[in-house]
Subunit: 137 residues, 2 copies
DNA sequence: GTTGATGCAAATCCTTTGCAGGGCA
DNA sequence: TGCCCTGCAAAGGATTTGCATCAAC
């Protein structure tokens, strides 16, 4: 079986399909969406396998868990640059952008002095995109 | 019964106790913690009342819901200035700080142009505080 | 052959809802 | 009085876990 990145995880077909889907999903899929898509290729797949695979991937740093909204998680392949999300409350569109928030904070926030902020610092803002603002009028 | 801020909500003893606790909790209590504390004063209180009161308070803008961690919500009295949280992964300490992230983004992120970012934009970072870094060595 | 991964079902956690009774305006 | 609020119990969605089986190393 093709190895999964450079991890020590046992490579199974389930895992490679799941990882594939997360990769193709451009980062904004939740567990259930991943499950639905994976099932088209592996009809006997179970949801718990999806959760367990995602947990392992997260543990080894292959993917990251995001909290775009309040009720469940979304997953994306780990990037190495710091990026964040802006979600339109109108149409649900997700805009990804880069900004070194961590640096900005270290620089401007005295209370953060000495804190070792980890890479997974995440910023999710919501707002209304130009299109939806027009529609709303 | 003492009115609850300047809202039109019906004032009940449950609600005033709950609001009191949220206020005293300095913003980092979840529903169950609020429930436990409120029960000391109102032994017959039910958890659903807590959830319903929090929902109402949120709706009227009296409090805000935060997503400091992955599994449940935290509540705090609405502030009028934009502030964010830095959570220590070692001891769980929460440091609040002020920073006009929204402005910074509008200014530096081209993709955000035209977006109307709403006030509730929130940033939660995690990291390790100086004390915990020492202990970890 | 071992060890870790899977599928299934049941369990758990957090939150919401239905309903009948009760309290504030 | 009328309407909103409450408590209780049951329902709901997301995620986790126990267990026997199975596949990767």
């Amino acid at each position: 079986m093709t190895p999964l990145g450079r991890t020590e995880l046992k490579a199974t077909s389930q895992r490679s399909v799941i990882l594939d889907i997360v990769r193709a999903g451009k980062g904004h899929l939740d567990a259930d969406e991943i499950y639905q898509r994976a099932r088209e290729r592996l009809p006997r797949l179970s949801l718990s396998t999806v959760y367990r695979a995602l947990a392992k991937f997260k543990e080894t740093g292959l993917i990251e868990e995001r909290h775009l909204d309040e009720n469940h998680h979304h997953y994306e392949i780990s990037h190495h640059d710091e990026h964040h999300h802006l979600i339109c409350t109108g149409c649900g569109k997700v805009v990804e952008f880069k900004l070194p928030i961590t640096e900005i904070i270290i620089e401007k926030v005295p209370q953060a002095a000495g804190f070792k902020i980890n890479h997974s610092g995440e910023l999710s803002l919501s707002g209304m995109c130009p299109d939806c603002q027009k529609k709303a009028t």
